[in-house]
Assembly symmetry: C2
Homo-oligomer: 327 residues x 2
Amino acid sequence: MTDLADKILAGDRRSLARGITMVESARADHRAQATALLDRLAGAGRQALRIGLSGTPGVGKSTFIESFGMMLTAQGLRVAVLAVDPSSARSGGSILGDKTRMERLSRDPNAFIRPSPSQAHLGGVARRTREAVALCEAAGFDVVLIETVGVGQSETLVAEMTDLFILLMAPAGGDELQGVKRGIMEMADMILVNKADGDLKPAAMRTVADYAGALRLLRKRAQDPEGFPKALPVSALEEQGLIKAWDEMKMLADWRREHGHFTSRRAAQARHWFETEVREGLLARLHNDPAIRGRMGDLGAAVAAGEVAPAAAATEMLRLLGAAGPE
Amino acid sequence: MTDLADKILAGDRRSLARGITMVESARADHRAQATALLDRLAGAGRQALRIGLSGTPGVGKSTFIESFGMMLTAQGLRVAVLAVDPSSARSGGSILGDKTRMERLSRDPNAFIRPSPSQAHLGGVARRTREAVALCEAAGFDVVLIETVGVGQSETLVAEMTDLFILLMAPAGGDELQGVKRGIMEMADMILVNKADGDLKPAAMRTVADYAGALRLLRKRAQDPEGFPKALPVSALEEQGLIKAWDEMKMLADWRREHGHFTSRRAAQARHWFETEVREGLLARLHNDPAIRGRMGDLGAAVAAGEVAPAAAATEMLRLLGAAGPE
Ligand SMILES: Nc1nc2c(ncn2[C@@H]2O[C@H](COP(=O)(O)OP(=O)(O)OP(=O)(O)O)[C@@H](O)[C@H]2O)c(=O)[nH]1
Ligand SMILES: Nc1nc2c(ncn2[C@@H]2O[C@H](COP(=O)(O)OP(=O)(O)OP(=O)(O)O)[C@@H](O)[C@H]2O)c(=O)[nH]1
Ligand SMILES: [Mg+2]
Ligand SMILES: [Mg+2]
């Protein structure tokens, strides 16, 4: 364990991968080892810039991560890429894999790419990813990119574990602005309108202007300096606007560090993480204790057979668990 | 309460709305009343066809529900529309409201439209919606449509409370097929390619063929008769293909009823509902018990201040709760 921790601290990528595999394991002995490993590494106090990246399918997340990641490593930075995949609960991701879209980055010695852990619950994926982030930080990565797809819960989870949350958008007609859920826009620290190239460039520039306006309306927070949150055009394919976007990210992060918001955000996130672990631990009783598991099974069968109403069965089960009813 | 139950059973829409408000309330006295109301109404044994409808923002869900709903009420059917909004956790829906898109349906005396309850957790929204479905069934609605947006968790929740799960898609180039998450496709009982009108019609027909092929590859289940799951073209705007789609939905539902799959799906859903209620009830201890709530607050503050690591604080809290560690 100490050996693995030392190797991770020395930046060894194979050891990092092994550590993440340990963190992702559901086995009780692995979990204990993972907790010990995380404890040990926390002492190093290393911090990466954690960047969350989200966008609907096909917007160019994979292409962007490849280009943006290569730009960062070209600046001498070490980059780790993790993913939170909300649909992995059922299938394990999109029909076509991502390997081909990140070919250069995956061969770069200063980059580390890890796909989303496959887990039954998004909460489980989030937990593993948070712990993987901690491992990447200990391994000395400067930037940890966390990708997620979708419009909903997974963005919130990613925003809750990152320092900056970036929304990648496609060029659109003005009418489509409504399609962006307000809640997701409110979480965004920056909107990047991708595919600002070729035929799509004029539409992309209009979309940038639209989102810039919408962002100003939706969110003016004490956490943001003047002029933020910003909308900017990029082309992941033609590698345009990436350095500018990175400069703006750094500016925002620096401003927040100076004004104490960076630390307070991380503090709130740590608290949230603690509360989540408590909730997960409570729920673990339902499957860890054989007697409880058995009664759950019996009552579940009775509910399925229509002999007991779901709510009534739940009330009985909760009495057994010594808990009051819901809410 | 009996009075309210009777009025709901008589199909009174204002009473139904009051019942749903009660079900959505977080107040303990309301919750007790809601449970009593649900118990009382369950005895009526009324069943609607529950149809889940999902699709990315802008695909035309609201327009479809308006047209499809009007087509159903024209057939003499009573239609209720509910929504599960994954982003309501933060904001309460999209920037532009939906009222204007469902103007006719919202004035139809045989229709009932209810927006998504605003709740801190998607799980809470799901629970309220499940209970609202039960109220709509008791009120004698023939069809309950449950809409959701997004790519991820909320579709799963909606699929878990409906008899049929329909995916609304936009016409697309062949390349974009990859953007559909496999897990969502696997849940779909039918794919409707919307906007099959005007310029978009040829693309829509191609997309139908693409999805029909993908569906055949992804899912051939004992729950489906020969030829299902199907992909069909519709135009919500021009009200084309809606009757055909409805006929296919009825055919699928009837087939499942005959073969016992309809009942077994509802049984599995009831079991799932029970298990979810138990989990929620367990977690309620964290905020209902003042001593526990206080200790949570203190430890949370210590974690935020960096004095205790999140995992260590969680372990302490779980010991206090008499639960083992996570997993
Ligand atoms: N013109 C143009 N096309 C792009 C750009 N970035 C990505 N694309 C194209 O958009 C399509 C989707 O790109 P991906 O990077 O796979 O998109 P994604 O967001 O990762 O998609 P999912 O993994 O399915 O969620 C591909 O055909 C890319 O070549 C860009 O900057 N300009
Ligand atoms: N051509 C055409 N346009 C349509 C059709 N259905 C909807 N639209 C248009 O597509 C746009 C979005 O429609 P909505 O019904 O609001 O889409 P939605 O899926 O409810 O969008 P969100 O509520 O944002 O998730 C609007 O401009 C509609 O007029 C259709 O059948 N054909
Ligand atoms: Mg991708
Ligand atoms: Mg809508």
